[in-house]
């Protein structure tokens, strides 16, 4: 029993360990934010595509911009990259105001678009080579990086083919290769793994991590919750042009009252006294007796309370036969803040 409790506790610690990746990876929280938006707004007619957005993105972090289609992610990106002008408010990119110094702001940014922006007549090599030139790489460095990026994204063999002859996934990889060649101070990636297979997704995630390790700050716009959860140090959730919430995925998930669920199947029925004691833990939101000696607990901060729950069962000589735990997903977070699942919001 003791060993079992210890095993559970270790597993829990492993699963629910706070994400300190952004601290290890050089996120500089003492410097001013590398991107700061102040009441950034874009209206198309009466529709507010982005509505008074206030964000501060720290240097070196992977910042997830999450929301269904139409949430305002792409419009935000287009304003930050100075493609479209804000109707109201502004933003600074590494200290440069996007309205007053758009040219300087653009020098800091590299973009991987959701839809690959390639002309059918160009070849992958042409696209990357010209991109590298415009970004100011020296001839030697350009040749080296273009070759490396083509190999890294697995398109070296197709480098001389016209873009129209490439598959959707390969075109997307060419788009990603642009930022790999550029290694910008701020990389904005919009749905980087759309149209990419599972193996390719993991490769791209690793490439983005490597890019961050080399000093880039990454803004990841996605509606893939798992992707945002895995990669992001912090996540901003947008809906209908408004910013709903910003925090680490962990804290966002913890913010859902009773979001962590623990189902414990005991070898015998738990007496009411145990239920009362469980309910007395401040992290326990509710305890329900289910069928077959099963207890269902809705918890906050599961990693903090689990050892005490295990100890209580141990002290009461209640042997555990199985235990099932789940933490809330970012989808649950989105639903918590909007009352809609991401799918419903997409339809809306």
């Amino acid at each position: 029993m003791n060993l079992w409790v210890l095993y559970c506790a270790i597993r829990l610690r492993a699963n629910f360990l706070p994400n300190f990746a952004f601290l290890q990876s050089g996120v500089n929280v003492s410097n001013p934010p590398i991107i700061q938006t102040s009441n950034l707004t874009k209206k198309f007619g009466k529709l507010s595509a982005v509505d008074h957005l206030n964000l501060a993105i720290e240097e070196g972090e992977i910042f997830g911009l999450l929301g269904p289609n139409g949430a305002g992610k792409t419009t935000t990106i287009l304003m930050l990259t100075t493609v479209i002008r804000p109707t109201e408010g502004t933003a600074t990119i590494a200290g440069f105001d996007i309205k007053k110094s758009p040219n300087k702001a653009r020098e800091m940014i590299g973009v991987c678009f959701q839809e690959p922006k390639l002309l059918w007549v160009s070849t992958a090599w042409d696209v990357l080579n010209w991109h590298a030139k415009v970004c100011g790489l020296s001839t030697q460095e350009r040749k080296r990086r273009v070759k490396w990026a083509l190999e890294e994204t697995n398109i070296w063999d197709d480098r001389r083919k016209s873009v129209h002859a490439l598959s959707g996934g390969t075109k997307k990889r060419v788009e990603i290769a642009k930022i790999l060649v550029q290694r910008p101070k701020i990389a904005i990636v919009d749905e980087p793994t759309a149209q990419i297979d599972v193996v390719g997704k993991h490769r791209i995630w690793n490439m983005l991590r490597d890019l961050r390790a080399e000093g880039s700050t990454i803004i990841l716009a996605t509606n893939e919750l798992q992707e945002a959860d895995i990669l992001s140090d912090r996540v901003a959730i947008m809906h209908k042009g408004k910013l709903l919430v910003v925090d680490t995925p962990k804290k966002l998930k913890d913010s859902i009252p009773g979001g962590d669920i623990m189902e414990v199947h005991l070898e015998k029925e738990a007496p009411d006294k145990v239920l009362d004691e469980l309910q007395a833990f401040k992290e326990v939101v509710s305890v329900k007796k289910m069928v077959s000696n099963t207890l269902r607990l809705n918890l906050n901060q599961v990693e903090a309370v689990t050892p005490r729950i295990m100890k209580l069962f141990y002290d009461q000589s209640l042997r555990i036969s199985t235990i099932y735990m789940s933490e809330p997903s970012l989808d649950d977070v989105f639903a918590h803040f909007t009352g809609l699942t991401l799918e419903e919001a997409q339809k809306e």
């Binding site: 100075t82 040219n103 653009r106 678009f113 002309l119 100011g136």
Partner: protein
């Protein structure tokens, strides 16, 4: 403005132009058939009125070819809008001014490079009497090509519709070419309707064609001073390249490209 970045924008347009092999071959065939078929036959027909119409026509067709290839950049703009390349270009560390000026020059330069070999053939046919005059004529063709390219870009970004652009360019082509001295001298336009000749006097194609004929010695005298001709073409180039930048910047935003 960075010259290096300006050159990179120009280089991109030149590289892209080479990719349009089918268009380039077809334009070459069009030019050859205009000269070798239409020019020769019509020359027989009108030589009593205009003794050296063939040479007159060859010079005119060269200008029309230059005009139509310089206009091609507008189609590139729509192609780019359709594939979203526009947005990509706007995110690059290149100023809007460098982008528009580079494209305007690139569009003009590539058309000039394209007609380069044709020009050599034309000069061989026509012969060159005065190298200085020819230099002035070629320089004015440069201004003309860049101006047309800037005009094409401006029209494309103002229209924001590929279909409408296509139709407008067809109409414009008919009007601009026909209301100029590319295919017939002003005298005959004057005889037909004086208004036609009056309009032709404000047409950049008229200045380009007449300066080219003067530079190659087809026409000994010009109806206007060569300086006026060069200035007119410079104004045309300046208007559509630099004032076009304003249009370009204002009209790029917000999508709605068709």
């Amino acid at each position: 403005m960075g010259l290096r970045k300006l050159w990179l924008v120009i280089e991109r347009d030149l590289r892209m132009f080479i990719q349009y092999k089918f268009m380039l071959i077809m334009r070459g065939i069009w030019f050859t058939s205009q000269v070798a078929l239409f020019g020769l036959v019509v020359n027989r027909m009108v030589q009593e009125a205009v003794p050296d119409y063939f040479h007159y026509y060859v010079a005119g067709v060269t200008i029309i070819t230059l005009y139509s290839t310089a206009m091609f950049i507008g189609y590139d703009i729509f192609e780019e809008a359709e594939h979203g390349v526009f947005e990509y270009l706007l995110t690059l560390p290149v100023s809007r001014r460098e982008l528009v000026l580079g494209r305007s020059i690139g569009g003009g330069l590539r058309s000039f490079i394209y007609i380069g070999p044709l020009l050599v053939v034309v000069l061989f046919i026509l012969g060159v009497l005065n190298p200085l005059y020819l230099l002035v004529a070629v320089a004015s063709l440069f201004l003309f090509a860049f101006g047309v390219s800037g005009m094409s870009i401006t029209i494309a970004v103002v229209m924001k519709s590929g279909d409408k652009y296509d139709i407008l360019i067809g109409v414009l082509d008919a009007l601009i070419v026909r209301l100029s001295t590319t295919m017939y001298p002003t005298l005959y336009m004057q005889r037909a309707t004086p208004a036609y000749a009056a309009i032709a006097n404000f047409n950049p194609l008229t200045y380009a064609s007449d300066l080219f004929r003067w530079g190659t010695g087809i026409e000994g005298t010009l109806q206007f001073s060569p300086l006026v001709g060069v200035l007119a073409l410079f104004t045309f180039f300046f208007s559509f390249t630099f004032i076009g930048v304003v249009f370009y910047e204002r009209r790029l935003e917000g999508g709605s490209w068709q």
